[in-house]
């Protein structure tokens, strides 16, 4: 994930009430789910992180997602895997990490804009190319 997306993602994941009981937050639920599936791929990964999943190699992490998306770990895992990958990408490419919620202004140019060549928000663009074959009105039959 681009550094940019991390803050809002953490905020969303740690907000109480978004996860079904018994979990207090989405991040608790996700950690639980990922670590559980990790147990089948590599029961005792070593590394500096508290969560088991975080200590896996790239290939092992892919294997965890593959297992989740295979449906073998239950339909909820399919949904969760898809949502995690989708939401991470969405946040990484959006302006989320650098938007000051108090002022509504950006504190820096979003990394997601730099890596996608996005020119930034605007009240208008210069891309009007006229009407196809000059036709401004559709006919009634």
């Amino acid at each position: 994930m681009e550094a940019n997306g991390q803050l809002p993602l953490e905020f969303g994941l740690n907000t109480a009430g978004l996860a079904p009981p018994p979990f207090d937050s989405l991040s608790e639920l996700i950690t639980f789910a990922l670590d559980n599936v990790t147990g089948f791929i590599n029961p005792a990964p070593t590394g500096p992180f508290a969560g088991r999943f975080a200590n896996l190699t790239w290939n092992e992490k892919v294997a965890v997602f593959s297992a989740m998306e295979s449906g073998l770990a239950g339909p909820e895992m399919v949904t969760l895997a898809n949502a995690l990958l989708l939401y991470t990408g969405l946040v990484s490419y959006s302006d989320a990490g650098v938007l000051n919620p108090l002022t509504g202004e950006l504190i820096a140019e979003p990394v997601g804009w730099q890596i996608s060549g996005y020119e930034g928000v605007s009240v208008g663009r210069n891309d009007y190319q006229g009407y196809y074959r000059g036709q401004r009105r559709a006919h009634e039959h």
Binding site: P8, F65, G89, V121, G124, R125, H139
Partner: protein, 588 residues
């Protein structure tokens, strides 16, 4: 007691409100979300900021969204607030496919969802289409660069160019959009100084359709480019006394979540008498009574409210038959500029009667990456694929993109050309809205939405594949060096027919007039009341045409009036100077 209470001021509800307020009825709209005061101030252009404001959730952005349960890996898009989901829609306003209606006798008749047709003919609806098209108004879209790319591809695969509004053969065309087309400097400059109304009029090509559309800056509310009902029908309803000779201003209460439809009597004489609602900010509850109640809370909330109100469901069709257009997405990487992040989100389309439609789309990078590359029912491209199918679409890459592949493909958003597939999907009772067993929220038991790909009928599947293949061909003919199909789970942007109208009482909730079969004086006038997937075209114009027809039926049956829409009808349009003046006078 009011004449009419309307639940939800979105795509359909605001239409009924305007039509009946214009006739002089006492109309109250109850809207769960906010009534935005100053759109330019309140709707941010930033993607992440707008997610807290334009969303399905309480008016207080600090609170989490309203929860729903899903049976599949895709969530429903709905926006709370006056304007409803039209606040975020793209304004594409095609008419339905004629083959989705009763009485159709074209050579391709057998290609449609013939078990679940509209209970009246396409010709019956045409005057209502024309009426709504004038009021919004709907206009032929101009082209930007990404539209020219699409058209090059459409011409390249030999598609016919459709010049009319009624589609009877496979064809492409610029969209009929509920967007005022560019005038003055609009679309011709990126200099903010020259983009203020009235130097700029209509669509400024900013690329922020999804952020509510507050362009051009300084334009009066009814002259903003995108014709959400917030800009068009709702202000007309609220000022009906000022521009219509017999009109009476409708009233809106926002932050008002209806939790109960109240009835009297039982069996065949059960009748709607009012509603119970809850004010979000304070938690206060209220009751309002009316002679007629109109449900227009959208395809998920209308069945939820029906079920939470304990209304009858004798044939079991409440919430059943949800259609979603079984969407799919393909994207071409072009060796030239497409300006994929600029201009209206979608301004060109292709239609395939009997199969469905597809259209171009663009947008900001976060949503673009998510929609075009990240959702998948197959897996990660090149690494694993759990779909169990060999892809036949001709796409070069199948599955979602992650890591370096995503970075490489997204490295220039303005060289991408994307297409969303809108399948003519079958009504099927397995696709549904019911009540979830998860904990209720402050407004009652929450909905469970079931639109699983495995429930798609054989026709839905083959239509979806047919359209996707055509879209891949089009992108290649336009010059794509690579086409990516993530195999996205259907995105729930178009949801319809969950409280369907029909001629058969055994499989419909409302009759051909939009009135509930089980409860007198209770009408449904949103996407849920559509009979089917309208053949694939975007649904809102059809909902609005039928809502207009339903308003006439309400006037005729309950208030002794007569109809006002006919083939020669000339309504006042929402951009008329009288409406501008009325909005100013009322401080809208």
């Amino acid at each position: 007691m009011r004449d009419v209470i309307i639940i939800g001021a979105g795509g359909g509800g605001a239409v009924v409100a305007k039509e009946l307020a214009e006739q002089g009825l006492d109309v109250l709209m109850l809207e769960a979300g906010r009534h935005t005061g100053d759109a330019e101030q309140e709707w941010p252009l930033y993607e992440s900021a707008s997610q807290g404001v334009l969303r399905w959730g309480p008016t207080n952005p600090a609170m989490g969204p309203w929860r729903r349960e899903y049976a599949q890996a895709s969530t429903a898009f709905q926006t709370a607030g006056v304007g409803g989901t039209t606040l975020q829609y793209f304004g594409n306003s095609p008419r339905a496919m004629p083959g989705s209606f009763a009485g159709y006798n074209g050579a391709d008749k057998n290609l449609y969802d013939n078990n679940y047709l509209f209970p009246f003919s396409y010709d019956e609806l045409k005057p209502y289409y024309r009426w709504v098209e004038k009021i919004l108004p709907v206009q032929t879209a101009a082209l930007g660069t990404k539209e020219e790319v699409f058209i090059r591809g459409a011409e390249g695969i030999g598609l016919h160019y459709e010049r009319g509004k009624d589609v009877d053969q496979a064809s492409f065309r610029p969209q009929q959009n509920a967007i005022l087309q560019p005038g003055g400097h609009a679309g011709r400059t990126d200099d903010p100084q020259r983009l203020q109304f009235p130097q700029a009029r209509g669509c400024t090509y900013c690329g922020h359709c999804y952020q509510g559309c507050s362009m051009p800056r300084r334009a009066p509310r009814n002259l903003k480019a995108k014709r959400s009902t917030y800009n068009s029908y709702a202000p007309m309803a609220l000022t009906a006394d000022l521009w219509s000779r017999h009109g009476k201003a409708a009233e809106i209460v926002d932050d008002a979540f209806v939790t109960q439809v109240l009835t009297e009597g039982s069996g065949a004489s059960m009748k709607a008498v009012g509603v119970g609602f809850r004010i979000g900010a304070t938690g206060e509850t209220h009751v309002e009574t009316a002679r007629v109640v109109v449900m227009a809370a959208g395809a998920i909330e209308t069945p939820r409210l029906w079920l939470n109100s304990g209304l009858p469901n004798d044939n079991g069709w409440v919430g059943k038959g949800l259609t979603t257009h079984a969407t799919d997405v393909v994207t071409g990487v072009m060796p030239f500029e497409t300006k994929g992040s600029q201009g209206p989100a979608s301004a060109v389309r292709a239609d395939f009667p009997g199969y469905g439609s597809f259209e171009s789309f663009g947008g900001m990078p976060g949503a673009y990456a998510a929609n075009a590359f990240l959702g998948s029912e197959a897996g990660i491209a090149g690494i694993y694929d759990h779909s169990g199918e060999v892809d036949q679409s001709g796409a070069d890459v199948v599955g979602r993109l992650v890591g370096p592949a995503l970075k490489e493909t997204m490295s220039d958003i303005d060289r991408l050309a994307s297409i969303v597939i809108l399948t003519d999907d079958d009504v099927d009772p397995r696709n549904s809205v019911s009540l979830s067993s998860q904990p209720a929220d402050e407004n009652g038991p929450v909905p469970l939405v079931n639109a699983q790909t495995q429930n798609f009928t054989a026709r839905t599947r083959s239509n979806r594949e047919y359209l996707t293949k055509k879209a891949v061909e089009l992108l290649k003919a336009a010059g794509a060096t690579q086409v990516i199909r993530p195999k996205a789970p259907p995105s729930l942007i178009h949801m319809q027919s969950s409280m369907r109208m029909g001629s058969d009482p055994a499989n419909s909730v409302v009759d051909e007039n939009g009135e509930a079969r089980a409860v007198q004086g209770l009408y449904i006038a949103d996407n849920s009341s559509l009979a089917n997937a309208v053949g694939g075209p975007n649904p809102t114009l059809t909902t609005q045409a039928i809502a207009t027809r339903t308003a006439e039926k309400i006037m005729q049956k309950h208030f002794g009036g007569s109809g006002w829409v006919d083939a020669r009808g000339q309504p006042i349009t929402s951009v008329d100077p009288r409406i501008t003046l009325a909005c100013e006078k009322r401080g809208l």
